[in-house]
Amino acid sequence: MIAVLQALADGLMIGGVYGVIAVGLSLVFGVLGIVNFAQAEFMMLGMYVAWFAWRYLGLDPLVGAALSFVAVFCLGALVQRLLIQRIMKAPPVAQIFLTVGLLIVLENSALLLFGPEFRTVKTAYQTRALMIGPIFVSVSYLSAFVAAVIVSGGLWLVLTRTWIGRAIRATAQNPMAATLFGVDTRWIYAVAFGLGTGLSALGGGIVLSYSSVSPTSGSQYVVLMFTVVVLGGLGSVMGALVGGVIVGMIQSLSTLVMPIQLQNLALFTIFIALLAFRPQGLLGSPSR
């Protein structure tokens, strides 16, 4: 029983973090209709920004994550204007092609710029845990989870309560009509791509607070991110968060009954089975 509670607690914490790194991917798909295979590489860049902020500015990675967001937001918006914009109307296979190319370029640029070694931060809370009854709650997971909740809440406020947020949602649903009411959709695409990649970078900063970064860190998360957003429904922001928690739970609970080695097999099996019954994901709308 305690083992189940412990697994639930761990799954919830890590799932919240998965939600944040994946929500940007969902946003990019929802607004631009692009399946971005390079999304996890932007997350990796965010991890590096947070690491440098920790090393040279003494910022905790959870705070440095804000810098990750800003830096990668700018990079993402630039990449959208220079590259993605050119293939917005191209067939989906071309978009896959471009983002895979981008993945290769970003990973190897990081290798050239930062070298191949692993980097990690040291914080006081990394080795602490709270005891809630018989349950261990890792302080670093808890702070990451809280950061994830705050970020999600902030994103929700931006999307529903601000002009730019409304314009992003309007563009996602009907770019033509949005244009008619004064939305410069090309600009919105750049902002949305920047926002999406920036959020993954911010998630990267959060993940760095307990993990490590190297140029190939992205590959660790890419399939996981897709699982999260597809489970939740591509393009749905709430869906990504729900999907994150579900993935965290599946990974964590599955280890109670089967070898840890097979935790992702459990995840993918449930993933494919769920798609068979609900092809648009849990919270996705059938239209897209």
Binding site: A3, Q6, A7, D10, I14, Y18, N108, L111, G115, P116, E117, F118, R119, T120, K122, Q126, T127, R128, A129, F136, S138, V139, S140, Y141, Y210, S211, S212, S214, P215, T216, S217, S219, Q220, Y221, L224, G248, Q251, S252, T255, P259, I260, Q261, Q263, N264
Partner: protein, 387 residues
């Protein structure tokens, strides 16, 4: 490389340089190790130059790199080194699967290849042209357990229950198998025997199992990323069972950089340690800013062994060089840094001298603590010095 090229140009009187291929991952997930190997080999080359290059052939040695991030690229790159660049021998690679794929090509082409990859099957295929300077992974697993048991016994806290956590890669499974077989043979109870996917995103399930098991000793076999997640999560849950890492992630400078004081006292099995070779280790540290990791030492030794063999053979014929490698017993330079003090091979091409050693973290360094004949300092068990 540029320096080398100018060096070659200035020696215009000398013959065409002898080329040796360095087949390592310089990009991709294991790039760091490829990079360390490059450092080690270049230092080994410098070291040999000081004692006067390839006298017999009147030529220089030139290194030709091939970046092999994944095994799929190994065969073509190996073939290119052999038939395009004309290398007489190949050093590499770190990753067992790359070595296995590459050695299929070297064997058919009749070009010697030297490696320190651990996989058991490297030298059990009956191949003539592959040489393994380190022991097999299964032996590492075995020694990991017997060394630890002996130290624990001498420290007066015998071990009856052990936990094995290992990544599900060639290296992890082979080493775990060695551990498991030995434990079964010695009647030690294995309370956790769990493999996990490489590059964990969360170590809690592993550590939860470990905590529930009541193990006296834990053997995590993992690369860096998983190593720090496991150690940190153990500390969060106040688990301070003696920890014996399985080489790789546990004996690189980054391990200390990432975990700080948490590493103090952590054990690991290792194929070699730099403290056996203080002068060269000092040079390495000065040049690259961190202690010399074992792969730099091992590949440096392999490289020097190959160069020496070329000199002995007095030939550029790969077949003759192969025979010279097999016959040579080299005990100076980098080779002296290997446990056993030499590089030499048995009929299968497996090292006939080396044995695994036990190292322990002390401050910023790792110190060889076992077996006694190579130990540089006494071991500590649960904070107490073991006499």
């Amino acid at each position: 490389m540029a320096a080398l090229a100018t060096l070659a140009a200035s020696n215009a009187w000398s013959a065409e340089p002898v080329k040796i291929g360095i087949l390592v991952p310089l990009s991709g997930p294991t790039a760091q190790f490829g990079n360390n190997i490059r450092n080690g080999v270049e230092l080994a080359l410098e070291d040999m130059k000081e004692t006067g290059g390839l006298k017999a052939l009147g030529a220089d040695v030139e290194l030709v790199y091939a970046d092999v991030p994944a095994p799929n690229a190994a065969a073509a790159a190996t073939q290119r080194l052999i038939s395009q660049d004309g290398v007489v021998g190949i050093i590499g690679s770190f990753v067992s699967s790359i070595t296995l794929a590459a050695s299929e090509v070297t064997e058919r082409a009749g070009v010697p290849m030297m490696t320190h990859s651990f996989a058991d099957q490297i030298t059990s295929r009956g191949y003539k042209f592959i040489f393994q300077v380190a022991n097999k992974a299964s032996l590492f697993g075995e020694k990991q357990l017997t060394y630890a048991l002996d130290i624990a016994k001498r420290a007066g806290s015998p071990v009856s229950k052990i936990a094995i956590l290992y990544e599900d890669t060639a290296y992890g499974t082979a080493q775990a198998k060695g551990l498991r077989d030995t434990a079964n043979r010695l009647g030690i109870q294995i309370v956790v025997d769990e493999s996990y996917p490489l590059n964990l995103t969360d170590a809690s399930p592993l550590v939860n199992k470990l905590r529930a098991s009541g193990a006296d000793l834990v053997f995590p076999v993992s690369y860096f990323n998983d190593a720090i997640l496991i150690i940190r999560t153990m500390r969060q849950q106040n688990l301070d069972i003696p920890t014996v890492g399985g080489a790789a992630g546990y004996i690189i400078p980054d391990f200390k950089k990432g975990l700080g004081d948490l590493v103090e006292g952590v054990y690991s099995i290792a194929p070699a340690n730099y403290d056996a070779l203080p002068a060269i280790a000092e040079k390495y540290k000065k040049k690259y800013g961190a202690f010399m990791p074992h792969e730099a030492l091992m590949y440096g030794a392999a490289f020097q062994h190959m160069v020496k063999a070329i000199e002995v053979a007095q030939s550029r014929d790969p077949e003759k060089i192969r025979d010279a490698i097999a016959a040579l017993r080299k005990c100076d330079g980098f080779s002296a840094g290997l446990p056993g003090g030499c590089t030499a091979f048995d009929a299968n091409g497996l090292t006939s001298v080396a044995f695994p050693v036990f190292v322990q973290w002390r401050g910023d360094d790792i110190v060889t603590v076992y077996p006694p004949e190579v130990a540089k300092a006494p071991a500590y068990w649960r904070g107490k010095e073991v006499k």
